[in-house]
Assembly symmetry: C2
Homo-oligomer: 264 residues x 2
């Protein structure tokens, strides 16, 4: 097991939690008390992190939420702050590009921001992922079956072999791209039957499951389908902007709901 | 025809050129005289732009080359400078994400950087592209068949229908995603036979062809295969870092080579 997945597993044991808190700071939804501060996004994130750290195995800042408003410095502060607490960071960037440019995406995620793992898009194939995969101590989480309905447009296409495209991606990830044991897959928690298929193909590979909470993913069904290997279960908006509780309460409730169905 | 593709076509007529100059500034290859300046990447880009503007229908800055070194401000300066000359800018970002996050990628490209068009990745499907496609005056250039060998890993998979995946992407782009006439496709100049197939599927859709120059794409074969609709032919490293001539000479030679085979 590589350094990143090893750290995730240890942290999951320490806080008894599979929950990844997604940091998708939306200026339209950040409370006014933060917006008046000098670094409003970082201030909001720090509040979220302080409130949820006891229940989180990792954090997943989504880079577009920072890039849209030129808040690269606040992204760096956010990552540094999480890591200062000893918690791993997945940079949700969904990058990918051909060789020479792929190097620069690896540098962005790992050398500039010092993320522990990054999400990436497999459409351009194995050589496009090589600069990420070569970082043996980092994690590379590849999109496989995403939680949105439109994910079906490509990912559910049936191949001549009878496989669906997302199954082929899972197969490539498990059998061709994982020489450094640093690959995981992103599979939406909104699709338990497809998650079960990915688990079957990939053995004990770690799977990142977004779609819990605001997107309506079913925790019980997802945990049943994903059992047999590493799981990281991600929630973002339901914890950052809870309707009837605080972020800390929402994180604890989500962690507890996961543990109700999770046989560790 | 939408505002972006209309501007490209007019500009192509004005400078008699299909050439797009890709701006992939690599700190390891930028001459020392620029590295000692306060804004080395912008200074290098400005030199390239000034030397090549007479031969370029547009520029395509590749965002990772800026992001890897925290040079967002120099990317903005570069885009502003190109646009001040009346030349359109394609931001090469290859983004894509589910609904709410997709919005932020659209804001990054179009509201923050004011790019005229952006490249995007179709793996997550139509709804992930919607925030980009809704920008009626902008261009959205979707990856279809990329110029790298590993592109075959997914893009050449044969579907149960007999199509290859890249053909299905071309079909979706032409028949489902192009309601605002603002979609184009990225098809590597390294694969003329596949380019011909994309042209057949997409009618007169504008195709962006990277892979000329350093990647060895065949200009004559690409022009023959791509005829019948809009073409933007992109070269980056062979113009930024020419072996035996200046960037201006390399751009002119590439433009002239394209025009040798292009029946306008």
């Amino acid at each position: 097991m590589n350094a990143f997945f090893d750290r995730i597993r240890r942290r999951q044991g320490e806080v008894n939690s599979l929950l990844c808190v997604g940091l998708d700071p939306d200026p339209d939804r950040i409370p006014g008390e933060f917006l008046s501060q000098e670094k409003p996004i970082f201030a909001f994130n720090k509040m979220i992190i302080d409130a949820t750290a006891d229940y989180a195995c990792c954090y997943k800042p989504q880079i577009a939420h920072f890039a849209a408003v030129g808040a690269e410095a606040e992204l760096q502060l956010t990552i540094d702050y999480i890591q200062s607490l000893g918690i791993p960071v997945i940079l949700d960037a969904k990058r990918g590009d051909v060789g020479s440019t792929g190097d620069f995406y690896a540098r962005e995620a790992f050398d500039r921001y010092h993320a522990d793992a990054v999400t990436a898009n497999p459409y351009m194939g194995g050589d496009s992922l090589k600069p990420l995969l070569e970082r043996e101590d980092k994690g590379v989480l590849l999109l496989c079956r995403t939680s949105n309905p439109g994910g079906a447009d490509l990912q559910n296409l049936v191949l001549a072999t009878g496989e669906q495209l997302f199954e082929r991606v899972a197969d490539l990830a498990a059998n061709q791209w994982n020489n450094n044991n640093n690959v995981g897959l992103v599979v939406g928690a909104t699709r338990p039957e497809e998650l079960a298929r990915v688990r079957q193909i990939t053995g004990d590979m770690t799977l990142l499951l977004p779609g819990i909470g605001a997107q309506g993913g079913d925790v019980k069904a997802s945990l049943a389908a994903g059992q047999g290997g590493g799981l990281i279960i991600s929630a973002s908006r339901s914890i950052l902007y809870p309707q009837t509780s605080s972020p800390g309460q929402a994180a604890k409730a989500t962690r507890d709901e996961i543990n109700r169905y999770h046989s560790a």
